[in-house]
Symmetry: D2
């Protein structure tokens, strides 16, 4: 680490934190310690490393162990003092503008918003309350543009995909950008960066000023998946469920690229919502796409949906193989329907209020043996609940195979007992094995996959 | 009233109310009844009459007795339905843009802000809390522009001045505008309009885009003094004291034109603040000005200040007679000092945080016999307190002469007993008599002025 | 003249003269002498007096006899040095922006454009060539905005009208401005200023940024009718005929207010063009309007047209009395037709290419006895030629009564002999007498009107 | 060619060709044939292929042999009809905005400007006249921004460099962009694209709107080196010498990357100008830079300059190896000096008027045996003339080795006889051999290098 360059600097905010009251500044500076501080410091460090090639959170954190960020109060406003900050974030002593913006986005979302919202009327115990909370976070981050056309395309997929899949995601982004569509991803590299990069060049070609590259992240992810420098709007949601809700409420269409188990979970989350009877008439274009080599993978996912959730579920998305222009054209068509529907129903363009998201989707699922045992995975539960349960089961099994906590649980209490019908559990098992075979689920220590559950009836 | 034209219309917001949550919209629509409704309806009617020549609140209210405004909720946002609205606010069925803006400013400040702030952490029991409240109201109205140069000139003076004084205020506004300064007044006609009109033409001459014409008003005044159509930023503060605080916190300099008893009270309010020891070093240029004919009036005010508050008080302002260009040049010089001071002290340009305003100035003074008797009007109280007490005494005596409630009190309990030193009370009495003589204080029924108080020692 | 304030200053251009080649700068500086210099000096002085109340060219020229303007060459561009310039054009030593703009508009149009165009391919001997010349002057002045909506309303009328007519023109301008229409006039006071002033306030009310107040003038007029300070685009055309052509090619509709003999001539010019068979299908809304008191005057003009040019001519305009809103609504309707027509015919919005203007309209008419005698004023000439001849006859007779040169000609050679049919000459004579009676044609020395012509058959 | 996709389309101009006179449109449409047409068609085809990977002019021209472009006249303006155009230039039937812009840039520069300038006062027989011509072409293309900071950095170098050199040019562009500098290159791939790409990303990081990527090309090059899609301002100069003059007049600093013989010629051109005694005091930062592996090449160039033109010549540039940030910092420093100098001398920022360019540099050099024999390559000619002669000799020898015409001349008339001193000719020969060895000069058919000249005394 002798070659590590660091810098000390003091930066002022730009944007939403420019006009703070004295009390707000004081609250901010008080937050310069404790657990909120640790969280903010970690996010700040991730942001200051934006653009470097290291995307290993641990490595970064270790490399800049002595990094500190202090929040100072001044009559005039708030000021951040950075000590031993990565020098790459600066040019001739001045912090790069995008880095400065993101740094204050983090301060806003982690410290300010928390203070602001915690002290008031947010009701996190009801579904409406949580949606309201997500709305306030997004509005406070100034990403809800009243009146803007519905053209925000969410791109989901793996962040450690192969080069061919990455190039493909860039080409899709390019075709979306040529049609003046904006991109929203979860920040970080891989599919989170490819479409933004493609769209940036396409927007330049179309002389589009004001192209949006929206990154939605959360504290647990940002360190490992630092926002790529193209992101020009960044929101740090408090947890995974709020972040997922933000995606489906601000996105007007969703493209799913090949990815790992995380992407599959997101896909099941989405199907669970779209299959809710209240959402039957709400248009939301969903496209699964990838290069030719990814066709078998997408086909398998498709068959799994057919086998478990049925044809209705399959009709909520389209699969397009190796044809970026067709993906973009199909998306344009779908967004037209979204626009017509919102106009007709008088719903906002900037936030999908009408979409029903049940409370079950808004809270984390903890895969204890008890919770896993209580999942209903049979045909007699309605499809949208089945989708939700499948997502939970999938998530639990993945945890039991790859996560420290999950593996330890299995070691301690034995395999999960899942109450599932064979016609559902068999496809699930097949899917999991395929993920392993395709290196989309990485087992620790390279050991072979072994089911961490058994089906009971 | 047979020739009265009315129109029914439905309007959508533009600006800060475009992105509301469903809960916020619901709260708004619930406010469509009760006392908040009455207040909002009255302000709305005043705004819809902007630009007409009638500035008599009572006449307007009577002319449009059947006017109604309904707040509707839609998934997409809020919508106002107007019934029997004055037709002058519309062109070929479309509401004039500035009227629409002001209408939603009123909705924002009266209904939305009230809801928002009442439910949360505003602490109206401390001086800091009140300042914080004023800050939040102003920030929510988006009038605090971070980084903008300190060039907001507050103009105070009468709203029913003579034609010569009106023309003079226009000429001063013109000279201010030629130097790219912005104008803030209390809305309404007279001195509230003259400087804005002059500045508008001057800004056009200087090709200045984005000139600001800020109107600060309150519900009790707006009906009688409707915002003139030049106002392009409107804030409705909840009461007179909040409005006065807003003036001195957002204004970078203050010009006082001839006016009535109200203007004199504002002048005493200002001196009370500026004489506070904590504010001794804070620059705030104050200029008293008027045409030649107003010189004796300004001279008298000046002598009154000298006789009661002393030379130190006189040094906080300058008097310039009949020279608009000199007024503007002096203001430019003063604003330069304000800028240097704020830079040096790191204070915000958009809000004068450093100015000390004691709690006594933030609450209304009720001139009961008891309150009047407890005022200390002697040389042994510090000047800033004496200024505050003088303002209260002045205000109480005016009330005792011209206001219904005040007159009735005097009739019931006899004259006020004021504990004042003769060297202070005599100049006060002289000033009051001069106001009457110059028709600047109008006694009901044209009866002669008779002191409603007696001095006790 | 002891109280006259003057200033010496040096100003740099802004706008089209910012990027000049060295050769262009050299040509400009060479023009700092000779007849072009005299012309430029005169226009510059008029512009520097913009906004003052003196609108008497002679007075201004005499008051600033020692005013000089020098054109300097610098590697970096051109610079104007002003010596003994009116101090009113400056604020604290800095020239007012609009004045600076207009000054360089004059330099551009008088010096630069002349150089530019004279040396090249302009063909002033053909009708197309003259139109091309007008087009180049306007494009070089950057007033042709490709793609802008057809909403430029030309306002014609007297510059020394009575107060009632002035107020009325302001009200009409206000109603036009409320409908987002732009104003084009001939600069100067009276009807040239009223509609612009009304529109300025209306545009502010509608929050319209970029409202256009286009002034078209020529060197012979500008000194007497200095551009009012609201004008934000100024073009100095080389003579009256080019200026008239500019009006009808850039205007999308025309409003004629009461005026003097000049306005009547403009009206006949317009009818002459509109009655040309090639222009029969080309929409161009024309409205004659005035306050109630002006109704008889407009009625008389209308009857004169009916009696001489017939009903077809009367159908090319509408008369609306004392109803500004109706005028604006009618104009909006007419502009809609203009837009539809141009779209259909693929003609530009910014220049009325399709309008046929015969060469006779593009050259000045010199009212010699010979020229007057050769005018055909009978029913057997086509209406558009009759209109042209009427305009010439009218112009000649006015000159014979009021202009130095004309009066001397009559004194020398006796009355004009005009070959006219009685049914045309009688209404003409009646019209002229009415103009005298209404003080719209001012006879020198207040002597009574006496026809300066006799009709021969 | 079965897989070739073509499209027919009709496009309207945007930008400078929006407001044309009828005569101008007619002239344009007449140019739709003859040699100007052939030139325009070729450029149009190159532009329509922008962004594809094929950079072989011949291949493109053959692939779209049936491509046609027709210029149509409409009252409203000009319209281009494209037949059998490459489909890649369109998205869902709409031409990509940047392509449309460049297409009309070509029309403007090749057809319109030619017409415009040929018919007028351009004097191509004097040095000042040629400079004036270049100025008018650039101004007409609207790339001269009055008042903009001097921050246009010209990047020269090879268009077929190796991958390492390409990556390095991107990194340099990135560092320049981070410091808000703009990029000007000669269009095409390689070093012409690398710095623009790097700067684009850096400008996005710095949130810089309005970054400039200026491409200067000429008809003989554009087909082989199509403008890369990042170029947002394109000018097609009429020939190589005008293009070189444009570079040094609009660029505020120059960076030279490794390249082939063309780059070496440009370097000698630049030195020839900078060594002129009149230019001795004029600052123009010049930096030679490349990755580590290119160090020997740059060193050799440096030594050649030292051996032939001497130390004074070496002091007009700096060499920086493998340090993009240092290059950018050095450039920032140099641009500061340029700015100070121009301010002091009152020279324009947008065009380097003060730079003396002798007529010899403004005309092509034809390497006949006679011309080659008359070159003076001895120490007794002044350095700036020696530099000019070296460039000519170098250019002639390269032609004699690689160009059809040159090779044929040598075959026909034998080797060139060059009158040169050995201390100059030896380094020249060494340089040429090194270029061959490094594959920077490609000999036809892979045959070995053999000097095509002999030195005579």
């Amino acid at each position: 680490m002798t070659s590590r360059y660091v810098i000390n600097a003091s930066v002022h905010p730009k944007g939403s934190l420019e006009t703070l009251s004295q009390r707000e500044v004081q609250q901010l500076s008080e937050a310069g310690s404790g657990s909120t501080y640790a969280l903010f410091r970690q996010c700040a460090l991730a942001i200051l490393n934006t653009g470097t090639q290291i995307d290993n959170a641990k490595t970064i954190l270790e490399a800049y162990e002595d990094f500190e960020v202090r929040i100072h109060q001044q009559d005039r406003g708030v000021r951040l003092e950075l000590i031993n900050a990565p020098a790459d974030a600066f040019v001739d002593g001045h912090m790069i503008s995008s880095t400065r913006e993101m740094l204050f986005s983090a301060l806003r979302d982690i410290v300010y918003t928390e203070n602001e919202l915690s002290s008031t009327r947010i009701d996190l115990s009801s579904s409406e309350g949580i949606t309201d909370y997500v709305f306030h976070l997004l509005r406070n981050a100034r990403i809800l543009h009243a009146g803007a056309e519905p053209n925000m395309v969410v791109c989901w997929g793996g962040h450690s995909i192969n080069s061919e899949e990455y190039q493909y995601s860039k080409r899709v982004g390019h075709e979306l950008g040529l049609r003046n569509l904006n991109i929203c991803t979860g920040c970080g590299p891989g599919v989170m960066k490819g479409p933004m990069k493609g769209a940036t060049i396409a927007h330049a070609k179309q002389r589009l000023v004001g192209g949006r590259y929206l990154g939605l992240t959360e504290p647990g992810i940002i360190a490992a998946e630092a926002p790529n420098p193209i992101v020009n709007e960044l929101v740090i949601l408090p947890d995974i469920e709020k972040r997922l809700e933000a995606f489906v409420r601000v996105g007007h269409g969703i493209i799913i690229f090949p990815g790992g188990v995380g992407t599959a979970e997101e896909f099941l989350y989405l199907l669970g919502i779209l299959l809710h009877p209240d959402n039957a008439d709400i248009p939301l274009p969903v496209i699964l796409t990838g290069p030719s080599d990814s066709a078998p993978y997408l086909q398998q996912l498709h068959e799994f949906v057919g086998a478990t959730l049925g044809e209705t579920a399959q009709q909520r998305y389209r699969i397009i193989i190796d044809d970026p222009a067709a993906v973009a054209r199909e998306m344009v068509k779908g967004l037209k329907e979204v626009k017509d529907f919102r106009c007709e129903r008088n719903d906002a363009f900037h936030f999908n209020w009408l979409l029903k998201i049940e409370e079950g989707f808004q809270h984390p699922f903890d895969p204890t043996h008890e919770n896993m045992a209580s999942l209903q995975l049979t045909r007699d539960v309605p499809p949208h609940e089945l989708a939700a349960n499948l997502r939970r089961a999938f998530s639990g099994i993945v945890a039991g195979n790859v996560k420290d906590k999950g593996i330890r649980r299995i070691e301690q209490f034995g395999r999960y007992e899942i109450h599932g019908a064979p016609e559902i559990m068999k496809p699930l098992d097949a899917l999991l094995q395929a993920f392993v075979a395709q290196h989309r689920m990485k087992l620790p220590g390279g050991r072979p996959y072994e089911p961490c559950y058994r089906v009971v009836s």
